[in-house]
Symmetry: C2
Subunit: 227 residues, 2 copies
DNA sequence: CTTTAGGTTTAGACGTGACTAAATCAGGGC
DNA sequence: GCCCTGATTTAGTCACGTCTAAACCTAAAG
């Protein structure tokens, strides 16, 4: 099955929107995710349906078929392996890595994928803390824990994952010492949803205030669950 | 200037055909190089001419403008840096590296290029012995020396460059110990243009016979000129 | 039950990069 | 100097992925 880069992008987007608990993924959601117009999405969905990569009910959104999901997971595996490789071996910061991986993910061979995975020692998470699908392309289990925006003041939490969205936000967080693995002390939760947190263990760290839109993208867990 | 991948491929092809001493590059040569039909080439040449990347005289071929040459050199720099990186850091053999680099060369950022070059220590040649254009994108000087097919029996020569064409030929040469840097003793030149050579210094090496089509792609120099 | 607002699909168009078939040009042979 | 062969360009088509404008469906409000 020869798929275009664009088709792969659509399948990846649908996969990620499905995980965002939109159970059936709507045309408009895909359009927004990929920054195209809804009619463009409709016509691509017709092609993906012809190839049996999605199930579609007109006017009621789509879901991935198992084959579609496998393609999406392959693309995501490429993306996250590349992110990990770039940070480990080419001195990128985890906050800079997303765009480069997005451009390369469609253009690497199976062989390249294998060699990168081997060079990294078959990693299980990428630098943002997101799980890397295995070579078997089985769906990784849903992340556990909660988001920072669901946490309460005085909690101590450890950052598990920072969703790789806006590079500016990412580098802001990176600059302020907030990254996967760091322990955070929640100092204050303002009524309008502003979270003030303090990275623990870094002498030079200062308290950082984060609006809930940002806090929602930070997934956290209990402190020292295992080490 | 936003160029498509395909445009970059045409410019690279024209550059390489120009170096192959076709002074003006003909439509049919480009068509063969890129495996498309001549009308397809003509229509692309019109676009490249509109953008002032080539000089075109209808029915008499094209040459690159300085801007077109710069684009070609940028693509070639990407290609050769990637080839070098893949062999140095991802355990590829020099004979396997071409296709992977061809797919990636259009999709890496300036930043990636810089980091790869730094990781390699600003290399000057790729694993096939071809010069890597510098970051300034000045044209590297033409290779010196001669090809194996221009050499005579009883010569001892050192392999400088093996032009990266057919991967099967490359891995054959690689398997028989013929690669850049190796010294070759020319045992025999048969009248129909068959070259029999012996890699020097490798105990397990055996004599290898090469038709002149292959010998023409092996560039050689005098033995131990500097070390 | 009807209306309506908003999301979705249809219809029609465009640019890119490819093709085949046909017309045209250039240069060598006579 | 004319003609012919082979290369090149023109003309017309197609698939892909995008768009805008218009038609259409769904679901919620009244």
């Amino acid at each position: 099955m020869m798929l275009s880069d664009v088709m792969e992008d659509y399948l990846k987007a649908i996969y990620q929107l499905e995980r965002g608990h939109d159970d059936r993924v709507k045309t408009s959601a895909i359009a927004e995710e990929l920054d195209v117009t809804p009619p463009t999405v409709t016509s691509m969905l017709e092609k993906l349906e012809d190839r049996e990569l999605i199930d579609r009910k007109k006017y009621h959104g789509v879901t991935l078929t198992p084959e579609g999901e496998t393609v999406a997971l392959e693309v995501i595996r490429h993306h996250r392996l590349l992110e990990a490789y770039l940070t480990e071996h080419l001195d990128y910061d985890w906050s800079e890595v997303h765009d480069e991986a997005d451009r390369l993910e469609h253009h690497i061979s199976e062989d390249f994928e294998d060699r990168v995975a081997a060079a990294l020692g078959e990693p299980e998470v990428d630098p943002h803390g997101a799980p890397i699908p295995g070579a078997d392309l089985e769906p990784p289990q849903q992340p556990t824990g909660r988001t920072l925006s669901e946490s309460a003041a005085t909690d101590r939490v450890v950052v598990r994952e920072v969703a790789d969205d806006d590079p500016e936000v990412l580098s802001y967080l990176s600059d302020h010492g907030i990254e996967p693995g760091v322990t955070l002390e929640i100092r204050e939760v303002a009524p309008f949803g502003m979270f003030t947190v303090m990275p623990v263990g870094d002498e030079r760290a200062e308290a950082v205030s984060l609006p809930s839109e940002v806090a929602r993208h930070i997934r956290v867990g209990e402190e020292v669950p295992a080490e």
